[in-house]
Symmetry: C2
Subunit: 695 residues, 2 copies
Amino acid sequence: MKQLENFFMPGSVAVVGASSNPAKSGYILLENIVNYGYKGDIFPINPSGGQALGKKIYTSFSEVGKKIDLAIMVIPNQAMESAVSDAAKCGVKNIIIISAGFGEESGPDGAGRTTRLQEIIRSSNIRVIGPNCLGIYDVLNQLNATNFPNLPKIKGNISFISQSGAYGGILFSALKERNIGLSKFISIGNQIDTGHADMLEYLGEDSTTAVIALFIEALKDGPRFLETARKVARKKPIVALKAGRTASGRCAAQSHTGSMAGEFSTYRAGFRQAGIILAEDSEQFMDMLSVLSLQHHILPPNNKVGIITISGGPAVSAADTCEESGIAVPALSEKTVKELRRYLPPFGAGNNPVDMTPQTAPENYLACMEAVCRDSDIGGLIALNVNLDFPEFGQALLKVQDKFKVPAVSVLIDNPKIEEMFGGRIPVFKTPERAVRAYKGLIAYRESRDRLIAKKTEARRKTIKVSGLSAKRRNCLTEHEAKMILKQCGIPVTRDILCKSRPEVLKAAEKIGYPVVLKVASQEILHKTDAGGVILSIANPIKLKEAFKELESKSPQWLVEEMVVDGQEIIIGGKRDETFGGVILFGMGGIFTEILKDFSLRICPVSRADAREMIDEVKSSPILKGYRGRKPANIDAIIDVIVKVSDLMHNNPEIRELDINPAIVNHKKLIVADSRMILDELRIKNNGQDMRAGI
Amino acid sequence: MKQLENFFMPGSVAVVGASSNPAKSGYILLENIVNYGYKGDIFPINPSGGQALGKKIYTSFSEVGKKIDLAIMVIPNQAMESAVSDAAKCGVKNIIIISAGFGEESGPDGAGRTTRLQEIIRSSNIRVIGPNCLGIYDVLNQLNATNFPNLPKIKGNISFISQSGAYGGILFSALKERNIGLSKFISIGNQIDTGHADMLEYLGEDSTTAVIALFIEALKDGPRFLETARKVARKKPIVALKAGRTASGRCAAQSHTGSMAGEFSTYRAGFRQAGIILAEDSEQFMDMLSVLSLQHHILPPNNKVGIITISGGPAVSAADTCEESGIAVPALSEKTVKELRRYLPPFGAGNNPVDMTPQTAPENYLACMEAVCRDSDIGGLIALNVNLDFPEFGQALLKVQDKFKVPAVSVLIDNPKIEEMFGGRIPVFKTPERAVRAYKGLIAYRESRDRLIAKKTEARRKTIKVSGLSAKRRNCLTEHEAKMILKQCGIPVTRDILCKSRPEVLKAAEKIGYPVVLKVASQEILHKTDAGGVILSIANPIKLKEAFKELESKSPQWLVEEMVVDGQEIIIGGKRDETFGGVILFGMGGIFTEILKDFSLRICPVSRADAREMIDEVKSSPILKGYRGRKPANIDAIIDVIVKVSDLMHNNPEIRELDINPAIVNHKKLIVADSRMILDELRIKNNGQDMRAGI
């Protein structure tokens, strides 16, 4: 952490590749450092020597002969390895590499350069930002170590960790337009050494940062990032914009930064668990940052807003957007409405939204706003005003925000007087939708913080250990094997008997009791139903013989199982994600999961609260809550199994995939009717030992 | 139409309620008319007389003594009736009523005033805009008959019909910021006489209007509006923003304009059929208008774009937003990629998006953009540039737009030189998402126009006539009755026999053949399944006797029906919407329709093309296309029934509601297994005659 601080508060800076040619990066960067008022020593370095901006250019690190805290590299990538080595030898501990050409997208040369550079970094104990980045900008310390011209100099409390340099440009421009300040900008580029998690951890402790912004294409170390975020999000809002949400975007991201992004739905799940606020697009990202920057200290106590306006139409759009965003626009109490009626013209709307209309006397704006804030339901205000630039409107809104300690956001069109009044205290937007979506950031932060604090209290569970797999050196376990593992974890499974002949099948059915299910049991057949290898509801021996005839030739052995009649099918699954590790899925199975993609995900370990959220998130899950006169299913039983499957995945990294499909759940209990498990081929090959969890 | 023209090109204007007090509406409006350069005669009128802005204030219409083409009323609502009567008597044909206080939201007084005013309007053959509106602004004729100060004076081709005056303010401000011009602004207010449809019809013929914008809270005459839109949308893009999409919004709209808005999903269906482009929010509304204003003459031939950038990160967001918006970002051909590689640095991405990176020489931008446009797949360009203000970038983009006749939109951050170059030719946005969503307007317009032109060729169907209902003076028809009507329309229904005793039930089953279904047949039971009144798959007389025992006490009579075994359940419904009339619903029934709200709607009459779209729009409809090895269902049979149900609803306004739930469809045919029909109570009461369609 101390070493990371050097990036932002170095006592001295070297610009390696400094140039006297104003068209060159090495000149612009040097100029920026000088012009933005950096207070420490500045050492331009270039083997060609000479002068730049009135400063001597040193020909090497050793020529400088003084302590260099931070070196910024703007040299061709071919020269990077020796430059970094030289810097390390001369005691430089922090390096920013601006130059590109290191990712896999640059071909084998790029990959080779990256590996060799990583080796140098590791062995010399330095910290590096980049390569392929735009540098850093610390507004408070006046250190602009980027190539950006015209950066805003307003000091603020937002710090931005960006995997894209250009997104910095978008944010700078947006903040300038909104007159909102910045603390730090960090372009992390290819993350050869430091990445999102490191910088997030640093900013979590940084007292000048109140709001953290993240632009993410692909995370490098998902679990560590989430762990860090979970800690930081208890103290400060973290707002993320995730690019590479779609196949087209991921493809673009890959060629852009050379890192492969996983499925967006997995990211979204992880962000939710870690308390990161996910913006839907660049504009909401910047709008939420603006609102949080100004109002993170006056969070709304609930998700209910009062909309107050003198402009009817835009207030209708605001109300729509609230409902679409999960923000309630509750009816006001009778008392409030009665009070409002004293000030409004007869055609003014005395409910929520409160339409004061242009006919309400400006001196009554305050009384109206106070009445709304006094209503016990209201947790914040959205105020709209098109074109009536009465100072009373602005004064009233500022007054109620202070007095009632509820945040207000505004939509102002052509109201320069009011807009000036709001500067730095109430955010101003140009459309109702943007105001509402920005306000959503305040609610999201309060909710995620509360959720994280509540989560901390959940009891730790004991580790699930799996044993007895030593004999199976196969990749794909049979249903019987998979169910035995689930049973070891305390998950109820249907009784089954593996049979190798017709007499065995008939005997097994007698033992289990009719009705039974007959299934093929072959390692060749992964999807038994699709292959016509499952016959359900076999009522008696005659039907069983018919069924056996049908499946006889399809498989060398068969499974006879108890038939679960009464209940609803669900699916619970687990997979190993490259970025985040174990991921758990819940859905209603079949068409719902496969065609409608109606499922929810969480990263392991999944808490009981997470599991409950997973069920609620699935749109078709109301089926479980007593659809069409059926008894509600036992939700706790589902939560139990989700949590157990999560623990199984989390503690047994050898399991690559796990499907419970279907489990049948009714009002009493849940039982797994089929399961599939795939082990990690490499691990099996590498150690061939008994798979043992909890290690 | 000629009379509507008077609103915009009057030879003379009277301002009724004109005032010499600068704080009053009657002053501001008069001042606006004078200051914006209106060329005709201006007559201020006010019973108090006096002078305003150096003009004599007349005390009455009769005192003016000259022809008045347009009167604008800014007087208290209590004085309105006599003022309108006076105006009509003096030969005024067009009146704009700014004053509020006429809707139902103003209490019984407001409603009464409205009715009396309507009577005067009807009897005197005048046309009225308003009341409760902000007036009109014709930029080309320099007539600002609104209270808005500082309106932009840039002449353009967008005309805006707005049910909210304040939305005019939002659009004015947005267009000013974008430097895009306006032709007309019409604030229609409460639509006592003229409304959306009238103005749309007028603008459809107006040669100065190339793009029509609509802000809609609630339409007054849905069918006429859609019919008008359908004609206009073949010639000009119509972009709509619909407020009152949610319950909160509808509630707000109701108190705001006193008109009740129907369900948003019905509006959306109607808009699609009429070729109206629906914006998702205010910003997309204004952004699509901007793009269409500049580029309506160079529409993209397909929905495939090339994304070209020097800024990687924002291009990833652009690609994501394309995919999320149904715009394809196709891989470029090998030939194109090879050509691009000649100009790009090795780490530049040579596919789509094309990331030229800051390292590509600006003189090569044109060659890169040309290569992309030459690719046969590409129908338009999205170009992004953060911070590298090289004129070559702007010149190249303008050049390829002209040369290849494909539209380009841009994202420019801190590029003043390029931005100036694009003025009036290439739209500029500040985030990638906005650029993509705006571009979507071009694709949507081309698609809707093509769809409308194709639709025109569909054959007219013969009118469906329903007879034989004379005996039923009931509101709610039985399943048997409803099915008989469907049968008359040529819709296949399951055989059924109505029985009054156990022997009849047993006989009926023999006649129909096992397996059968037994249902209660009682007018008291609307939802038979929920009441436990349906027993399916009865295999033999023994089972039938058991079933009868169960249903015996529930109903005075029973229906024995053929059991349809093989197929997928679907639901087709019809209802009477207050705004649009007959509306048809399609869905997969059960959970899909009820819990997941996965259904599609269209307004009657529904064409075969509409019906096909309805099926495709339903997310769960892939079930019909051969899910899990089943044969694909007969989609044409579904289309047949949707169209027939639409004709039935359309030609028989006596039918208020109609449910086919379920119909069973398989690869061969469709058959209706249950139906419910509700007739309009009032009509039944009023004429009690035989219901006869085609009238």
